[in-house]
């Protein structure tokens, strides 16, 4: 495999992981971590312009092009955030230096796994990459070794593995469906060849495969009945990991699901995956919206908000049609940027207030104005209020669905409204009102948070034409 950009995107994190596992000391490893993610991001940026030909194992096309850049960018900003976050964690002793090396190494392995999953052309390699990503995050969630962290990690491991196993079974079924028309061996797993000959596959087998894939990768996306691991994993793990989990890992899993939806879309007789995804999307959006109300832990609340947004995105892709698909892709990008920005803010808030319990924190815009207003802007963005990007995707989804299926659109709007009410009910106590909890000044880097929010704000008003072109022709592909 020639050393072109694609392999570089994979090699850098792998090398960095090895290196970081060896280097002791905090200052150097944190900076190396940031450097590694920066390098990967720059290489990924170069992918935007020169796009190598698709190889048997790795390929870059319109869909994963944007997501690689997004993943590496958020990875980079999260590493910047984690530098200051971990510094504080070391001070208060929640993280011992020995685990620090393990943390940085695992961070880079996670980046490697996600990049591999995105660029993998072979559906088997994609499955392995996602499995690796799951295992690394399981270890990261359990890193604090408190009771709750262990319980969350154990739950994440069991549910994640069951999900992954189902996904593997689905992949095998896809292979079985593809084998008669493509022939045995490696090329029956190559995604690009599968796409070309998708029409000739056995539709019934594809349907069963899609059911398993939907449940398998759906667990990783956090859709309603399969979501149980997500809230605990988010709230017990270190915040940079929650940001990466919520911002990127959910997207990567949904990206994998999209790959297979493209496959089914290419095969006319296969039953439309739409209704399946629409029902699961609606159930998880409505369920998560209601769960926001009684939350007492701030990170668990935003985890449920991630489930709600993943539900909305799956609903958008389930509805299909150019407008809804475009909205879904846009929503994925916007959600990962906004949610990671919110988790940056939440990380600093929990450090400053020394707790994650909402009851013990209050009046943030009084005590820490910059952090407070950053959180308010983040919540405004995630609630889907207009000047920011998420409103555009919600607007497109609702308007395009209302004309075709009024009742579905009304239920979706209801879910969004209930979610918004829950979020702002908590925001009122956290950001406004009488200040509660310590008021020590936070030694924190706000740059990544405001960078993300600025991007979301710009995207809400103006979208660069290239990005739009990619999204549009991928939307057509998605059917």
């Amino acid at each position: 495999m020639s050393l072109d950009a694609v392999t570089a995107v994979l090699l850098i994190p792998a090398l960095a992981a090895a290196l970081l596992a060896l280097l002791p000391g905090y200052r150097a490893t944190a900076r190396l971590n940031i450097l590694a993610t920066l390098l990967t991001f720059l290489v990924a940026l170069s992918l935007l312009f020169t796009r190598p030909a698709p190889g048997p194992y790795l390929h870059v096309d319109d869909l994963n092009n944007v997501f690689i850049v997004l993943t590496t960018f958020v990875g980079f900003t999260t590493s910047v955030f984690s530098a200051s976050y971990i510094d504080h964690e070391l001070e208060i002793g929640r993280l011992t230096p020995t685990f620090l090396r393990f943390y940085h190494a695992m961070y880079q392995v996670l980046m490697f796994a996600m990049n591999l999953a995105l660029v993998a052309n072979n559906i088997g390699v994609m499955w392995v990459a996602i499995e690796l990503a799951t295992l690394t995050t399981v270890l990261m969630v359990g890193i604090y070794r408190t009771h709750e962290a262990l319980e969350a990690a154990w739950k994440y491991f069991i549910l994640g593995s069951v999900g992954i196993a189902l996904a593997l079974f689905g992949t095998i079924l896809v292979y079985m469906a593809a084998r008669p028309s493509i022939g045995e061996g490696l090329d029956a797993m190559i995604w690009t060849t599968l796409m070309e000959r998708a029409a000739s596959f056995d539709p019934a087998l594809l349907n069963v495969a899609f059911v398993f894939l939907l449940l398998g990768y759906g667990t990783k996306v956090g859709l309603a009945p399969l979501h149980a691991w997500l809230p605990d994993a988010h709230s017990e793990g270190p915040t940079p990991i929650s940001a990466v989990l919520s911002g990127l890992l959910l997207n990567v899993a949904l990206y994998a699901l999209l790959r297979f939806k493209m496959l089914l879309a290419a095969n006319p007789e296969a039953l439309a995956p739409g209704p399946l995804m629409v029902t699961m999307g609606l159930i998880s959006a409505l369920f998560a919206a209601f769960m926001l109300y009684r939350r007492r832990d701030i990170k668990r609340m935003f985890a449920y908000s991630s489930i709600e947004h993943m539900g909305i995105i799956t609903f958008a892709f389930g509805m299909g049609g150019p407008l809804a698909n475009f909205a879904g892709l846009l929503h994925m990008t916007m959600h990962s940027l906004t949610k990671s920005a919110i988790f940056f803010a939440v990380g600093h808030v929990s450090q400053v207030k020394g707790t994650q319990r909402i009851a013990d924190m209050g009046g943030l815009t009084e005590t820490h104005p910059v952090l407070g207003w950053g959180l308010v802007l983040g919540v405004v963005a995630i609630a889907g209020l207009p000047p920011l990007g998420i409103f555009m995707s919600e607007f497109l989804v609702v308007t395009s669905t209302f004309a075709r299926a009024p009742w579905l659109a009304i239920i979706l709007v209801l879910a969004i409204l209930i979610g918004l009410a829950g979020l702002f009910l908590r925001l009122n106590t956290i950001a406004f009102g009488e200040p509660r909890g310590p008021v020590a000044e936070a030694k924190a880097s706000y740059v990544p948070m405001f960078a993300h929010l600025a991007l979301v704000l710009v995207a809400g008003i103006y979208m660069p034409p290239h990005l739009v072109a990619w999204f549009q022709n991928v939307a057509k592909l998605l059917g």
């Binding site: 769960m291 405004v380 395009s400």
Partner: protein
Amino acid sequence: MVLVALILCAALLAIVPIAIATGRSPSGRIIVYGASLVATTALVLIALGSLFAPPSTVTLPLGLPWLGAHFRLDALSAFFLAVVNLGGAAASLYAIGYGAHETAPLRVLPFYPAFLAGMSLVVLADDAFSFLVSWEFMSLTSWALVMAHHRVADNARAGYIYLIMASAGTAALILTFGLLAGPEGAYTFAQMRAAYPEFGAAVVLLALVGAGSKAGLVPLHVWLPLAHPAAPSHVSALMSSVMTKVAVYGFVRIAFDLAGEPAWWWSIVVLTLAGITTVMGVLYALMQHDLKRLLAYHTVENIGIIFIGIGLALAFKAHGMAAAAALALTAGLLHVFNHSLFKSLLFFGAGAVLNATGERDMEHLGGLIHRMPQTAFVFLVGCAAISALPPLNGFVSEWLTFQAILLSPQLPSWGLKLIVPAVGALLALSAALAAACFVKAFGVTFLGRPRMPAAERAHETDRFSLAAMGFLAALCLVAGIVPGIFMDALAPAVTSLVGQRLPIQTGVEWLSIVPIAESRSSYNGLLVFLFMIISGTLAASAIHRLASDRLRRAPPWDCGYPDPSPATQYTADSFAQPIRRVFGTVVFRACEHGEMPPPGDTSPARLTVTMRDLVWDTLYAPLASGVGAAADRLNHLQFLTIRQFLSLVFAALIILLLVLAIWP
């Protein structure tokens, strides 16, 4: 023309970073409000300039990528742009003086120009996406302004309820535009006008919910009296007098311009809602003793009057009576203009009183006319205008609405024949109650003796506030005396919506206004004003010459009872007690319960009045408790064991496999 307007809106937005930078310093306030004053006056001039000009459009590369953001300045948006920015200019002028007392300037200054820009952009938007972005941007900035004094608990609650209702309204509007645009997404207003929407009824009903919740039609008004008083006074003036008008613009634009030919029963829905809104609004206002809440509730009543005009116009347009529709729509739009004038004036007055005494509760005020004479005079002009007393502008729009009601027997549909007289009665009832409400507001606050030491220490407000209030009062008088000019200014907007216009008013001799040729009735504000001036001076000069001019001060007659304490005066509650007994027992289930101490016991008797807000109890309380109950029931799912979660996954798999086994 529209490009210049957009540049000015951008200028308003540019003030925001300046405000953040200079927020703390005292000069910051003057810079921000001065700059917004200049920008808004420029926008007013542009709007007036383009009232009669042909519509100008522009498309910017922003907004939806493949669509771009469309902006259009036609007659209707020009009129509303003028109303919005006139209110904005007055508020900015007022705020230069009033803002000095602001405790948290950094929470108000940055959002104020953004709020103005948001409102102007809504009026200019010409496609669904930019309309909704600026609409919600307006709500977002006003939410931030309502949360300016978030330390007060019920301000935070008011802000929360406001944002939920605003988002619900926007959701309804998104659904409306979803219907208008159709599945393939024709989002520009021009495409919507071309395509004939087959769900016209659903579009108008959803628009009524969306715009109605922002304007404050009764079932959707609950946030308004909570949010408006919570904001600083110049902002609550803007919200009450101008933001509700932007909501009216939203409904008029959708119902008349985009929704195609109206069906006859649409107007029945609008008229019934409007009628209930007028009476409920003023009855709510009568029961309040917080000055700013009283004014906020009264905005609900005036919105009802505007929607009566609009409902009638819809009815006439549905039956093809273009001339009558023109009259009704002109009445509605004129009342939009009039209400924005005197409601801002009254809120400025309330702000001045709040600044001077630190009190909003009328029970603690009184006798301010001696300590704040200019504010009292200007507030009186405002009260007279809002109670529709002849020489001022309130009466003109009410007179036109009555003339429009008088034309409705020619409507063939039986439903309207029964509803319109009932709505006419409700309108008359609410006009009388409005006069009662503002006698109470002015009398208890400004007249009588100061009830609390804070009222005694009151002092006159600064000259900027007085300048703003004086300007608005003068405008009220001018609009009352020569209404013809303003009605002709509305003509192009009305013609674009209903296809016909009122006869040229300025042509009529002696500047009187004639609604429609066949009604042969006319009203001349100028002559009535001159008549009153002449007869007043005649009487004064006669008395001056004939009667004695001796005058002596003496204590008022107190029926021999020696205790001169201010508590013996009538308070806001006691003033409203007769009306509460007449209307309150039905509408609010008001019941008075007096406990007399046992004979010989000197403890004071207690009178408690309990009232229940029926709209809140029947609509919003069950909604909130429903969501709470559902949240509780679903909350158990968070605390299942791993095994139970696994069985969830297992069950999902089995169900899907069963579906596959049975279905295809």
